[in-house]
């Protein structure tokens, strides 16, 4: 049964109900007490996001300082429930203009009630597109203070758009200048052993799109991925152009992309929502260009001293550079004194995270930097357990670089009025979980 929820609760960290909505009759109103008693006030919290208490099951997620709890008593679709929560939070954020936290909920509770009524009916998720909902759910808190003005002037075809096949785009949009911005954002995930061998490495990328296009345009996106190119050359019966092609392990698309067509023709064609959205996500494991190599040596000298030496090499093009590079080297809790020598950037000891934090604002390609540090520890007799040596973590951003080598080959826009479009493409690679064991 694809029911996702019988009731939904928003609780603060103390367990007070901020908002709740019962969708079905099969769970009692006091179910939240069970959640507080058996999960929030015990060590259970955070041990497992799906729990059964009595005849009911609870799914919960924490988002900033709010717990969102879904209660069901049937064999509900958990995947659907969690995804609903994720999407609902995104929707609320888009309404509040940013943050989603306890205060935002209190300040917009009427709006949230109204949205909760709209986006789920009897436990079944309905349309959650902010684009469309904003057509007819317009709280004055969000828009204007003319609250006495009857706000139920129906947008002529709002209801048709909620339910329509293109349930994510409004009709009759007009822009003076038609523009599309494409951002290719890649996160590199790396797990490297202390000896420098790559244990796991993959890239999760997403293509973010910002559309300011009039009317109902049809878009077609071409990438330098192998399957798409092969199919294309097959269709046009001309040999494949040489050049770098990449193999995508998996792609997932925003609901606006015609999946059946992708499956048969391997083309990404869609009618985009207005404004910003995530067009697609992809994953690559083969042929990943790691932007940084890290060579750590950490020596324990006796019981009270640690010698840390970290060398970072940038292996992307010499003309490019990375921004905001941060290397976090974990040290034991009982660290007392540190001294550093760095070839670039600044390093310091941050006791709240038990790490040496080395920051380099700008890191050019094909260069290397080193940090050597001496760490003195307070000698403790009680600490029997050896230090667990958590992995070194790294953060960075490399503009105009893709670790996967992905490139946008074309973006075609077709609209019946035949206007011209300006397309902008940016690339950036960030660190996902970039971990080096030491």
């Amino acid at each position: 049964m694809p029911v996702a929820a019988s009731a939904i609760y928003f609780l603060n960290l103390r367990g007070d109900v901020l908002i709740n909505r019962l969708y079905r009759d099969d769970v009692g109103g006091n179910m939240v007490d069970a959640f507080r008693m058996h999960i929030m006030q015990t060590k259970e919290l955070g041990i497992c996001p799906v729990r059964q208490i009595g005849g009911c099951s609870f799914f919960y997620m924490r988002i900033s300082n709010v717990y969102i709890v879904i209660v069901v008593s049937s064999n509900a679709n958990v995947a659907c429930a969690f995804k609903f929560v994720v999407e609902a939070v995104a929707l609320f954020k888009s309404y509040f203009g940013g943050a989603f936290d306890e205060d935002a909920i209190r300040n917009n509770f009427v709006l949230i009630y109204e949205l909760l009524d709209e986006i789920m009916d009897f436990g079944y998720p309905q349309n959650l597109s902010p684009e469309i909902l904003k057509l007819y759910i317009t709280q004055e808190g969000v828009r204007s203070p003319f609250s006495s003005k009857p706000s139920d002037k129906p947008v002529p075809n709002a209801t048709l758009q909620v339910t329509g096949a293109v349930g994510w785009r409004r009709e009759g949009l007009v822009y003076k200048k038609n523009e599309v911005f494409l951002d290719i954002v890649e996160s590199v995930n790396l797990l490297m052993s202390s000896k420098g061998s790559v244990l796991r490495c993959d890239v999760t990328g997403k293509i973010l799109m910002k559309c300011f296009l009039s009317g109902m345009p049809d878009l077609k996106l071409g990438l330098n991925d192998k399957i798409g190119l092969e199919k294309e050359s097959q269709l046009k019966s001309r040999p494949m152009k040489s050049g770098k092609t990449i193999e995508l392990d998996d792609v997932t698309f925003h609901q606006c992309v015609n999946l059946t067509r992708f499956n048969s023709e391997k083309t990404v064609s869609f009618v985009p929502p207005d404004g910003e959205f995530e067009l697609m996500k992809y994953r690559i494991t083969e042929g990943v260009n790691l932007p940084f190599r890290v060579l750590p040596t950490i020596k324990e000298l006796g019981r009270t001293r640690l010698e840390v030496n970290v060398k970072v090499k940038s292996v992307f093009g010499a003309k490019m550079f990375a921004l905001g590079v941060v290397v976090k080297v974990p040290v034991p809790k009982q660290t007392a004194k540190t001294s550093f020598q760095v070839t670039s950037g600044r390093a310091k000891y941050n006791a709240s995270v038990d790490c040496l934090v080395w920051k380099i604002r700008k890191f050019p390609g094909q260069t290397e930097a080193t940090m050597s540090a001496e760490v003195e520890l307070i000698s403790t007799m009680t600490e029997k357990k050896p230090w667990t040596r958590p992995p070194i973590q790294m953060e960075f951003q490399v503009p105009m670089f893709t670790a996967s080598g992905l490139r946008v080959r074309f973006l075609k826009v077709w609209e019946k009025s035949g206007y011209n479009t300006v397309e902008w493409v940016r690339y950036i690679t960030k660190a996902g979980s970039y971990e080096i064991r030491c």
Partner: protein, 908 residues
């Protein structure tokens, strides 16, 4: 951009309610609206504002949509506690449902459906009827869900008013969202109804698959979930379906992906071409891996499902083990599940890499995770013979680090490794013994003691080691005591010197006199007697070869696994339990308990139901403990009669005690026999002599309007029997099992009774009707057993077979005389008319009339057989004398012989 509603929460003055009342009745719209907001705010924080019901409802008639919504929200919350007042709202609802604005029409219907007050429900029907046929799709999609709401409140009303048909029409609606919601509503209604309402034909299937392309993401989930129960006719159709579902794997919404995976896996069962299957497996792997980049909670759901999927089709992710390597910052629940999947995917090819990972995890901070990592190494050793040595060397490295809980965990798994590979790795015992004094957990202690006992002859100071444990014998946990007892006996048998002899005296004394634990006492007595009668026999028993163990800790029974795979993405797949195990409103409950009571019923149901808890590496090795002990236990019991039947009176250190024991043994036998829940014993269909010790008794019965197969399985063999499955051959009534046979593993001398729900008209045989029911039962240990049962017609007699006198006469007359047959039931007897009538009524043969004719009593009865066939029965007999003449008139004459059989059986 954010609002500032928080002010509504901050009006906690003394006279809040009267103040609100005043404001609600204000003539200024703004003030009114603010007041309603304050009411809602108060409601949210749990204050009782139900006393304002009338005042709030008065605000309902407004042009302001926002205000209207707030009032509706209030109504949903408080209508139940004020049913009489709720009626006040009905007029506005009905009016709103005809508003020119579709948003208001939909809002009215949606809200009315949420108000579960009978009086309101009555008024809901007309607006609902209209809205189901509304021009606006938004209204229709809302009305579609509303039908499900109404069905939940009053199913009869929905059926009477023909809403189901209208709902079915909506499946062909031109708007995809209407279609999706209609499908969701129908699927839900089907789930709660015992009658077929929403049956998916190949035509609907194709229509819905087309609608998939245009639906919202959620609509796709509704449709895929509803279609996942569809059984394709053949491999070709299955392939077609799969082809149309596969594109969904690329959807960004992971709920869509999981539902698509579920559907593909279901259809794959039918696909025979290995190429197609291989191809599908290849296609499913990347989307499954991608699920792991979602939010941690969604990852958890995905991982629990993947754990099922890899058990069914290990090839899908065989090459993807790396993606399950834990990240340092993964939440603990994600790490635990990843670890579990890593064990499942570990193979000779990747074991080195996997071991490096496990070793890394074993040094992390979270104790539970570290323990699980250590166990994982042990389980890999048991699973992969060629890697066992490498696993052990990793374990030894970990032991050397001397972290207490790591050592203890390692010892627990090493015990299992010793059992799996006897006489191979004993060289490490010395290392283990070094950590002896740091053990403080019962399971680790028990494991260590087992190792010492098992290898007592190779450990020079085994007696000293055991002695050190003996000092604290009375304080130890039962698990440790049992192991100590066994280990001491082993030591004595292997090294019958003075030291061990003294030890054994101490232990036996302690275990028989000083303990309240019956298990411990019984085991001690048995050893005692064995040792005193025949030490050689004791050796045979205690030091017997043990059966080989395997790592089956997390493998689910195949039939259970299949059912769980049909529930992918749902709670069932996360708990790894069937929905019946945790859902209170199961489909099969016909007599639904009072709603008020069911939470309590659920709780007991849960605590009793043997959960299919899989997690628990703890369960694993404790199981391997119990299984090896219990596997051994029956041996002494079976062996016991042999020495006692030998006439030589036992040379007795404690003769009286032995006498007691013997008496006890005999007394135990009858108690051990299963206590039948009720009714006469079931006929034995498969005697244990033919069933290699398995005895099956069974009979068809009718309970609460349903046919069940009442089964009693008794295991008289020497092995544990598990994995029971049942199948029925084609038969006249098409009887088949409605679900899997749920029998727990049967220990030797154990028995289990179950009521297997049956369905009819599933596998019909052709030819004249007969009573033959051929049954096949299999388990994992024995060949398939076939036996025959006899179907008695009366189990099909339905509860609604009662006929009024007039109706009976009319039916009698309407049937031609050729449809009447009679038979003399010579062995039947009627002792008293009243009790016969009563007995008959209990089996749904209903008394219509009686008369007397020439010293004979004539009874007229009616019954309704399968497919609603009426039986008009006339019984002629003299009370108390054997011999009853039975005449029957029925439209399907070929059933008459079966009826006679049934009547004869009933009148015995």
């Amino acid at each position: 951009m954010s609002g500032h509603d928080s002010k509504y929460f901050s009006t906690t003055k003394k006279g809040e309610i009267p103040e609100l009342k005043e404001e609600l009745n204000s003539q200024y719209k703004d003030k009114k609206k603010d007041a309603v907001k304050k009411v809602i705010a108060a409601m949210t924080v749990g204050k009782d504002v139900s006393s304002l019901f009338t005042d709030v409802v008065n605000c309902m008639q407004t042009e302001n949509l926002e205000l209207k919504k707030l009032v509706y929200l209030y109504l949903i919350n408080y209508a139940k506690s004020n049913p009489d007042l709720a009626i006040l709202a009905v007029n506005t609802f009905v009016k709103d449902s005809q508003d020119p604005n579709p948003l208001i029409r939909a809002l009215a219907v949606r809200t009315m459906g949420c108000i579960r007050v009978d009086k309101i429900t009555e008024y809901l029907c007309d607006p609902l009827q209209r809205c189901l046929k509304d021009d606006d799709p938004y209204v229709r999609k809302t009305a579609a869900i509303c039908v499900a709401k109404l069905y939940d409140i009053n199913a009869e009303l929905v059926e009477d008013r023909g809403f189901l048909d209208t709902l079915k029409d909506l499946i062909s609606d031109n708007n995809p969202m209407v279609v999706a919601n209609a499908v969701a509503a129908l699927a839900e209604i089907q789930e709660t109804s015992a009658r077929p309402i929403f049956e998916i034909t190949s035509q609907t299937l194709s229509k819905l698959l087309t609608a998939l392309n245009e639906c919202t993401e959620w609509g796709q989930v509704f449709i895929l979930d509803a279609l996942s129960t569809y059984k394709a006719a053949d491999a070709l159709e299955a392939e077609n379906i799969v082809e149309r579902v596969t594109p969904r794997l690329q959807h960004a919404n992971c709920a869509v992906v999981l539902s698509a995976v579920k559907m593909i896996l279901q259809q794959m069962e039918l696909i025979t071409s290995t190429d197609v299957v291989r191809n599908l497996c290849k296609k499913m792997a990347p989307p499954l891996v991608t699920l792991l980049s979602a939010e941690p909670e969604l990852q958890y759901v995905a991982l629990r499902n993947i754990s099922l999927i890899v058990q069914k089709r290990p090839t899908i992710l065989a090459h993807e083990i790396k993606v399950f390597f834990c990240k340092y910052n993964d939440p603990i629940y994600v790490k635990m599940e990843k670890l579990e999947i890593m064990i499942k995917l570990a193979s000779d090819r990747n074991i080195d890499q996997v071991l490096l990972e496990f070793k890394e995890y074993a040094t992390e901070v979270d104790v539970d995770f570290v323990r699980k990592a250590v166990r994982a190494i042990g389980r890999c050793a048991i699973k992969l013979e060629r890697a066992a040595e490498r696993c052990i060397s990793v374990l030894l490295e970990l032991i050397k680090v001397k972290v207490n809980y790591v050592v203890q965990e390692a010892i627990i798994v090493i015990k299992d490794i010793f059992r799996r590979y006897p006489n191979t790795y004993e060289s490490i015992i010395a290392t283990l013994c070094e950590s002896l004094d740091t053990l403080d957990e019962p399971e680790a202690k028990a494991s260590m003691i087992w190792i010492i006992g098992e290898y007592a002859e190779r450990i020079d100071n085994a007696d000293e080691l055991l002695e050190s444990f003996l000092e604290s014998f009375p304080e130890e946990q039962a698990m440790v005591q049992l192991q100590l007892l066994t280990a001491t006996v082993k030591l004595f048998l292997k090294k019958p010197t003075e030291g061990p002899q003294q030890m054994i005296q101490v232990v036996l004394n302690n275990a028989t006199m000083e303990t309240d634990n019956p298990d411990l006492r019984d085991r001690a007595y048995i050893y005692w007697r064995l040792l005193s009668t025949d030490p050689e026999a004791a050796k045979d028993v205690v030091l017997a070869e043990k059966p080989v163990i395997s790592d089956d800790s997390n493998s689910l029974e195949p039939s259970l696994l299949d059912e769980l795979l049909g529930n992918i993405a749902t709670l069932s797949s996360v708990y790894h339990k069937l929905p019946e195990a945790f859902v209170s409103r199961a489909k099969l409950t016909f007599a639904r308990p009072d709603d008020e009571e069911y939470p309590a019923a659920v709780e007991t149901g849960n605590s009793e139901s043997p959960s299919y808890e899989v997690d628990g590496a703890a369960a694993t090795s404790s199981q391997s403990f119990t299984s090896h002990e219990t596997a051994r236990q029956p041996v002494p019991v079976a062996a016991a009669p042999t020495p006692s039947s030998a006439p030589a009176s036992p040379p007795a250190p404690v003769p009286d005690l032995l006498g007691d024991l013997l008496g006890l043994d005999n007394a135990l036998v009858p108690v051990d026999q299963p206590i039948a829940p009720s009714g006469p014993p079931l006929p034995v269909l498969l005697p244990s002599t033919t069933g290699q010790g398995l005895q099956i008794s069974a009979q068809l019965v009718r309970r609460d309007g349903q046919v069940f197969y009442n089964l009693l399985l008794e295991n008289n063999s020497q092995v544990v029997l598990d994995g029971f499955m049942i199948q029925f051959n084609k038969n006249t009534f098409g009887l088949a099992a409605a679900g899997p046979l749920q029998i727990p593993p049967l220990l030797p001398q154990d028995s289990a009774r179950t009521l297997l729900p049956m369905v009819m008209f599933q596998n019909l045989s052709t030819g004249p009707p007969n009573t033959l029911l051929q049954v096949a039962v299999k388990n994992n240990q024995q060949p398939v057993w076939y036996f025959n049962d006899k179907i008695s017609l009366h189990v099909f007699f339905s509860e609604d077979g009662r006929m009024e006198r007039a109706n009976f006469l009319e039916t009698w007359k309407s049937l031609p005389d050729s449809n009447e047959v009679a038979k003399d039931l010579s062995s039947a007897i009627i002792h008293s008319i009243d009790s016969t009538v009563e007995n008959f009524a209990a089996t749904n043969v209903f008394f219509v009339a009686k008369r007397r004719n020439a010293n004979k009593d004539i009874l007229y009865m009616s019954a309704k057989g399968p497919r609603g066939i009426p039986f008009l029965i006339e019984l002629t007999a003299s009370v108390g004398a054997p011999g009853v003449k039975c005449a029957v008139k029925t439209p399907s004459l070929e059933m008459a012989p079966l009826l006679f059989d049934a009547m004869e059986a009933l009148l015995k």
